[in-house]
Symmetry: D2
Subunit: 133 residues, 4 copies
Amino acid sequence: MTELYSSMRVYVEDTDAGGIVYHANYLKYMERARTELMRSLGYSKPALFDGLQLVVHQLSIKYIHPALLDDEIRVLARLDKVKRVSFLMTQMIFREGICLAEADVKIACLDARTKKPAAIPLPMYAKLKGLND
Amino acid sequence: MTELYSSMRVYVEDTDAGGIVYHANYLKYMERARTELMRSLGYSKPALFDGLQLVVHQLSIKYIHPALLDDEIRVLARLDKVKRVSFLMTQMIFREGICLAEADVKIACLDARTKKPAAIPLPMYAKLKGLND
Amino acid sequence: MTELYSSMRVYVEDTDAGGIVYHANYLKYMERARTELMRSLGYSKPALFDGLQLVVHQLSIKYIHPALLDDEIRVLARLDKVKRVSFLMTQMIFREGICLAEADVKIACLDARTKKPAAIPLPMYAKLKGLND
Amino acid sequence: MTELYSSMRVYVEDTDAGGIVYHANYLKYMERARTELMRSLGYSKPALFDGLQLVVHQLSIKYIHPALLDDEIRVLARLDKVKRVSFLMTQMIFREGICLAEADVKIACLDARTKKPAAIPLPMYAKLKGLND
């Protein structure tokens, strides 16, 4: 299965007046991990390429335990299913082996100009499917 | 039904290099609308009060059409179900009557110190239930 | 003098674990106020237009009193000096008449493609100078 | 001289519709680098400690070249002058040896409760001065 863990640190910018990481910022951590997974597959700017654009189409997240200032976290990006115009990922955020948040994310490929669905280019599709391995 | 629409503007801070609003920032718009709904019920700092804390516990969002720089959007916060330690909301983001994003959000009440679930104070519970009306 | 005050609210997204507005977020408030000033002059997407781009080139800010969750603030954008490829603004953030922060901001006009300095288009230049009034 | 370089990556979250890093986000990079400098001196949550709080009091930044999506940047935090209730730092952001932005930052120590200036604790003061070396 195609997956990658990325390590990152929680900084003051990520926290809110509740003393915990602001809920929307978990999505930033997850996007960083997806970007690193794509980079590991050879795509250095996956969000924007060849007139195409990968965007989050659907996202479902459970916040289990709050991440805190200065935490060192590991963020999982795992490819679950690759389709012609989209793919599904599972993402989890861990601190010392404890899962803080878990999400299902559907990424869609768009034409960057029209913002309409577009087929994932075949070489990327094959990479995501793990067909080259 | 307890609901409120809040109007807001998309600024450069909200956008990303894809030329659209960064996906995590829709969650900020939704939180602003929830805050305004709570304010309309008489709670001016609902995120932090009386040693308690309201946090997002679960969130499921569909991105339908991208919001763009300078868009004027209307954000709905609607209370669907109020329970003893949590409540459920539907949230939608509109631009000129078109729904750009839709989310189900579960808000939980925590003890601010221990970060454990805590009962919503009765007066707030009654307000959220619309019992005072 | 060309100036405008914009009112806005401090939300949880803006705060940090220190219980105050995160220092970088004051810059967002100021950008919103600049955008509204430009809109009042007839420019609805001043950050990006006609192959040009207005960017912050230099910024100097003093943080005097912290802005807090739920504060209602008024943000001043005032044009001080308009030159051919840049202009200078004074910006201030107020809460109930008290100045929380004050900044000098230099905005430069760039060619959006080459990112090199470019002359402000004459109609905008005239507007900024107040020559049309 | 007490200084540290931190390496980081530019992600989509950092960029704006202009295709470059949003100007306020350079301040986040600089704060991360300051935090790492403090950590290297033995302070793991320097922003909040012992009832005290380190906050940005004054900041002056020049944006020289735009940082772009996917850039790998190195961020310098250098202590220039340590006083009893504040200290001054120089910060720079580099990409492949080219300076993208440069800032002077004044950090003040506050009483976390009253938000009034407070003396930097002596052990931290000595560390910042490099007296222990």
